[in-house]
């Protein structure tokens, strides 16, 4: 306990009863904006009109929260080790996922292949379209106005801020997922990963390299 928390009113406190100074704000105390009001009202109306049940809404949120980049990494690692699976992944990500017991959801997802001459990066300039079934919820920066605007305006500067410097003889190709499709970058297999098994390869595949702002980890020698 520091001196100023028990000597402020002249008598000896072992602990501070002034709760207003020690509590962090609750979620409800943060600003409640127009869009949050609309989203909450829409949810309540859908339940009231029996379009969905409260449990279905809860289950959908639970499912979304349970998604993570681990599923995406399984697909990428498998594509690195299995040429037939790689071909299927590039043709149809949803079917490729289903073939190994994963769910990529109902929204069509495309895998975009990095090559020695093309580096791909994904953005949704209009909102936050993202392959959530395979990568989980998008990071806050992905939804920020700065990322959404600068990725199409000055992609190399954005990539450099993520630590990814793309050589001038490599094309930077920005994919703006504005419509019905979602995109997942299939990065190039890192040098030094030859002979690695699926689990070791999956550990090299980060969320950010599947968005395209980064490259896979390099294997430790």
């Amino acid at each position: 306990m520091t001196a100023d928390t028990h000597s402020h009113d002249g008598h000896d406190h072992d602990y501070d009863h002034d709760h207003s100074r020690t509590f962090q704000p609750d979620i409800e105390e943060s600003p409640f904006g127009q869009y949050q009001v609309m989203a909450q009202a829409l949810g309540e109306l859908l339940i009231e009109k029996s379009v969905i049940t409260a449990d279905e809404l809860r289950a959908q949120i639970e499912w979304l929260d349970s998604r993570s980049p681990a599923d995406g990494a399984i697909l990428i690692a498998r594509a690195w080790n299995d040429p037939d699976f790689r071909k299927l992944l590039l043709e149809n990500v949803n079917a490729a996922a289903e073939s190994i017991g994963l769910s990529a959801g109902d929204i069509p997802i495309r895998a975009i292949e990095n090559t020695p001459s093309v580096h791909n990066v994904i953005v949704c300039t209009l909102c936050s379209c993202y392959p959530r079934a395979l990568l989980g919820l998008p990071p806050d920066w992905y939804k920020s106005r700065e990322y959404r605007s600068r990725t199409v305006r000055e992609p190399r500067a954005i990539l450099a801020e993520f630590g990814t410097v793309v050589p001038d003889d490599v094309e930077v190709r920005v994919h703006d997922s504005t419509a019905d499709l979602r995109y997942l970058v299939l990065p190039m297999r890192p040098a030094g990963s030859e002979g690695m098994d699926a689990a070791a390869l999956e550990a090299l595949v980060t969320r950010d390299c599947m968005i395209g702002v980064s490259l896979p980890r390099t294997p430790r020698s």
Binding site: P108, T125, L126, V152, R153, E154, P155, R156, D168, D169, E171, V172, R173, V174, H175, D176, S177, T178, A179, D180, L181
Partner: protein
């Protein structure tokens, strides 16, 4: 479904500013690119946004733009590109296309 454009066609995004739920970003309106891929047939989001789920589907294209054509001061290599998904009713033939 009739598909108006083929892969490789030069197209221009309509320079229009209608109200409503429009999925065509501002930065490519009025700009020319090349059809990179025909992504399939989808419902028009401008209709879906108003609950008109029975509207006809229309082709969705992946259109490739040269960054240098989008930004006059783009300072990256001339080969840099952006690919944007655009519904057919937003596209018209561009000069140099082989329509």
């Amino acid at each position: 479904m009739k598909i108006r454009f083929a892969v490789g066609d030069a197209v221009r995004v309509r320079r229009a500013f209608p109200p409503g739920h429009v999925r065509t970003p501002y930065f490519i309106r009025g700009r020319s690119g090349v059809v990179d891929e025909i992504a399939g047939a989808y419902h028009n989001p401008e209709e879906l946004a108003y609950g008109r789920y029975d509207c006809a589907t229309l082709p969705l294209y992946r259109v490739r733009f040269s960054q240098a054509d989008l930004w006059s001061d783009y300072d990256g290599p001339v080969g840099d590109t952006a690919i944007v998904d655009i519904y057919e009713h937003w596209l018209e033939p561009a000069e140099g296309g082989h329509q």
